[in-house]
Symmetry: C2
Amino acid sequence: MQQSASIPIRDISFKQLKAACSTCTLQELCLPVGMSLEELAQLERLVNQGVKVKKGEALYRAGEPFKSLYAIRTGFFKTVVLSEDGREQVTGFHMSGELMGLDAISTENHTCHAIALEDSEICEMPYQRLEDLCRAIPALQRHLYKVMSREIVRDHGVMMLLGNMKAEERLAAFLLNLSQRFAARGYSASGFHLRMTREEIGSFLGLKLETVSRTLSRFQDEGLITVQNKYIELKNLTGLKTMLSGCAGNQA
Amino acid sequence: MQQSASIPIRDISFKQLKAACSTCTLQELCLPVGMSLEELAQLERLVNQGVKVKKGEALYRAGEPFKSLYAIRTGFFKTVVLSEDGREQVTGFHMSGELMGLDAISTENHTCHAIALEDSEICEMPYQRLEDLCRAIPALQRHLYKVMSREIVRDHGVMMLLGNMKAEERLAAFLLNLSQRFAARGYSASGFHLRMTREEIGSFLGLKLETVSRTLSRFQDEGLITVQNKYIELKNLTGLKTMLSGCAGNQA
DNA sequence: CGAACCCTTGAGTCGGTTCAAAGCAGGTGG
DNA sequence: CCACCTGCTTTGAACCGACTCAAGGGTTCG
């Protein structure tokens, strides 16, 4: 869905244009930050924008050879690492504009599963070519380093959460983090639909699903939130914030 | 070592020679992997090799502006993130050849403290110049991406540890990981000196210091290890390994 | 030699897990 | 369009692993 190096931008068909980085509303959240139009065009040329992943399906699985990084256009994913004896740990939930697959760069193989939690559409970026392009476009190189660094910072936040916080605090931090990320995408910060099950939340937060359920119920009793199945409304943001009276913050 | 493009080798003083990347025994663990002699010389030119950090001192602190990445030449560090209400979480222990400061790339400020656990010597690499050099040296660019990716994988291992494992398993995984990393540096895999306190181990593993102490004592009673204050000897590697019957593995 | 810090061990407590049962929601096929 | 079925969620009761509190001994370093 993109053109060769010799064909000018305007030859892009409407459908392609719609999907292209230069018109993508996620530009500021995704990879092409601070790039010129000319540079954007170069990036577009290597992006495969059409990949669809149905709910429940894997974008990639641990052990598969690493070929590409993936940016989420629409949809919602979880990433899961597995221990040898079969235990699963959800390492993150990922929404539009976020990059997945960074962990695979080190080993040339994916180290986790990326599972769609709803029907999703993703942009595939062949890593080899992306790396080459980074050398040509300093802004791209810099931004990819930043994105990876941000993932490291996020992971440290999760460690703080798992290592230091009580169940209540973990849930509060989790809800506030989701809220903030939805808001950054133009959705409501106070009401949203959870795409994941209680068990997946629990796996991410180091809790059992029953504890997640109980804690949400308690939050509701306390008037902090309302819960209707998977729809959550945050009723008292400051209450939630004081609940986790201090924690690094970004965790998912 | 080698020369800048224009200055011949022999102009470099002995002291500089001693510390240079091209003669460094940590080459294969550190940043200059797969680089030519010519490229090594370029890297050396930007590295400030003399930085000493005394036990207990900070190489950098959370909030400080980000200027450089740091490679450990000799010594041992912990990195610590802080929550707003003052809780501390040790996010890792770092030994020779490892890079620190990657988390700061995203925000232009350090997000954690790096504290020396013994007198240490580090190589400072101004990030701006390093980034520029990455564009000129593909092997360097690629390796820096890999190092960051490896840090992400490591963090996911810690999440598995904190989210899924029992105290015994965490300790076993911790000891085995240290063992492996000492071995990779030519030290004994079965006997080593812990540089950190029980409390720091506990902070890293999401346990209280009493639990760390008790669990080490139990391991000793079971003949898995011997403990003499901070000196640990692993007596039964397979026993330790079966203890954590499966977990992603690399965590610190 | 003293002071500060670190480590060990014990006893009691508690937050979160485990086990169990019942209610609900959403999707599928008849 | 309804009935069923599967998977998800809620809630209760009992249990247990790790934490808290406390005391004593050891180590290190000035």
